[in-house]
């Protein structure tokens, strides 16, 4: 029954290498995580502004307000860290971290070339999905611990939405995995050496993107923080640095899901024209992030029931169909 190679666990691997390597990798991931979302955030400011025919931030850092987000950060740090009296202090304080950390960890497996990556797990995409699903707990914690009904409603909305869209997300990813025949992110990327999977699975790509938007609770799927209904959802009571963490989570999420989407469907770091792989990867992430922002300016918010209906009656059946087709083709060809 045992067909496994006698080998070593992940930890063996880590322990076998130098701790330094680990630290360096961790630092690299962290730095990337801290920088990339800022860029996306800035992009959102400017892109939205231009789409709405206004300028956006123009002062901080002089050149088109490039340091606006840094300034925001500084402002958040200065602000008083308010914890509501009725709140559950521990849970309230831990929530931002729980929401944020999964996205950081997620970048451990994102490859920027076939050599630049922190870890190549043979179940990479699975790891991504697993880690990505933890984030919801942070939102629920935030919503519940705030002792505010709007927060709670927001959190419940978020959780319901995240569960509902987790399925199409995973299913869409699964059909890519089926085509690539591997779970490893590098493997999937390498499997797109002749064409991108978006060509064979355009529907899957669309599903993945839509589901990602919902996972990120980005417009038009931003019912959990619908300010006209429930103020700011789960984050209503948050101020200062804690609130900043949630913002970071959001932008980090955009980067994370964009990178996964580009790996799954757009050939990841693989490019042409001799441009270095990491740049291709960055470009694809940027492009997809742009799309995410663009949609915010384009579509109005859905209603809660429409949102659930859309997932269960449209996305999931479609995703299942996609899997079926891929499966048939795979069997027919293979």
């Amino acid at each position: 029954m045992i067909s496994a190679v006698p080998g070593v666990s992940v930890f063996d691997d880590w322990f076998a290498n130098f701790w330094v390597v680990l630290v360096v990798k961790a630092a690299a991931v962290l730095v990337f995580f801290l920088v990339a979302p800022l860029l996306v955030g800035y992009m959102e400011h400017k892109v939205l502004a231009h789409m709405q025919a206004r300028l956006g931030p123009m002062y901080a850092g002089r050149f088109h307000g490039w340091a606006q987000l840094v300034a925001d950060g500084a402002k958040f740090i200065q602000k008083e860290d308010v914890i509501p009296a009725a709140a559950d202090r521990w849970v309230f304080s831990l929530a931002p971290a729980v929401a944020l950390i999964p996205y950081i960890v997620l970048f451990v497996v994102v490859p920027f070339s076939n050599t630049i990556y922190a870890e190549n797990l043979d179940i990479g995409i699975f790891f991504v999905m697993a880690i990505g699903s933890v984030n919801v707990i942070g939102v629920l914690m935030a919503g519940w611990s705030s002792a505010n009904k709007f927060s709670l409603i927001g959190a419940l909305r978020a959780a319901a939405q995240l569960i509902a869209y987790e399925l199409p997300l995973v299913l869409a990813a699964a059909s890519v995995v089926m085509q690539a025949g591997t779970l490893s992110l590098i493997g999937i990327t390498e499997a797109q050496d002749r064409y991108w999977f978006v060509l064979t699975q355009p529907i899957g790509f669309l599903i993945f993107m839509v589901a990602s938007l919902a996972e990120l609770t980005r417009p038009p799927f931003d019912m959990p923080i619908a300010d006209s209904e429930i103020i700011f959802g789960a984050y209503t009571e948050y101020t200062g640095l804690k609130f900043a963490f949630f913002l970071l989570t959001e932008y980090g999420g955009i980067v994370a899901l964009s990178s996964i989407a580009s790996i799954l469907f757009l050939g990841g770091y693989r490019g042409f024209l001799g441009i270095p792989d990491p740049l291709w990867m960055a470009a694809k992430i940027g492009a997809l992030s742009f799309v995410v922002i663009w949609l915010r300016a384009t579509y109005p918010r859905l209603r809660e029931d429409q949102l659930q209906r859309f997932s269960w009656l449209a996305l999931i059946p479609l995703a299942l169909l996609q899997i079926l087709v891929v499966g048939f083709v795979k069997v027919a060809v293979g």
């Binding site: 045992i2 067909s3 006698p6 666990s9 179940i123 629920l140």
Partner: protein, 166 residues
């Protein structure tokens, strides 16, 4: 002790403490969060034991889905912030039984497996091998489980949806 064992002991200790807090917590949501910690630690244990796939399944299904369901359930049934009487009157008996089970199991286990003798040499199992076994040898239970999940899904919807009339 090997490095793995140190890592294991740390995870196990954290997991144990969280498990105890889970069953003693005075607040339902805290209990659920302790459950997350325990589950994560158990997932870590799987990693140490080189059962990578199971570990991530643990995170994906348990932490990512089951706990969310729990939290959902708790919040829909208005889990209050603050303390309430979550325990019944049989705490003493429960403690006795729990300790009894523990003592019995520990005794039986150390009786059956010598402390130093069987050492696990974790083997890294490729996901492929596990998949092979799932879809070849265990394809029948796999299909059965899929029916189970579908039934649970449909049934849960039927039960929890609000009927128009009521």
């Amino acid at each position: 002790m090997s490095a793995q064992e140190y890592a294991f002991v740390v995870l196990a200790l954290v997991g144990t403490v969280a498990a105890f807090r889970l069953v003693t917590a005075r607040n339902v949501v805290h209990a659920a969060l302790y459950l997350v910690v325990t589950l994560a630690m158990v997932g870590g244990v799987y990693l140490i034991l080189a059962a990578e796939f199971v570990a991530w399944v643990q995170i994906l299904i348990y932490v990512g889905a089951i706990v969310i369901l729990f939290l959902f359930g708790l919040m829909l049934t208005k889990a209050p912030i603050g303390r309430e009487a979550l325990d019944n009157q049989q705490r003493g008996i429960a403690l006795l039984v729990g300790l009894g089970v523990l003592a019995g199991l520990v005794f039986l286990i150390q009786n059956a497996f010598h402390w130093s003798d069987p050492k696990i040499q974790p083997i890294h199992v490729t996901t492929g091998a596990l998949g092979e076994s799932l879809f070849r040898q265990y394809v029948l239970p796999f299909e059965a489980v899929s029916f189970l999940l579908l039934a649970a899904l449909i049934g849960a919807i039927v039960l929890s949806r609000k009927d128009e009339r009521s």
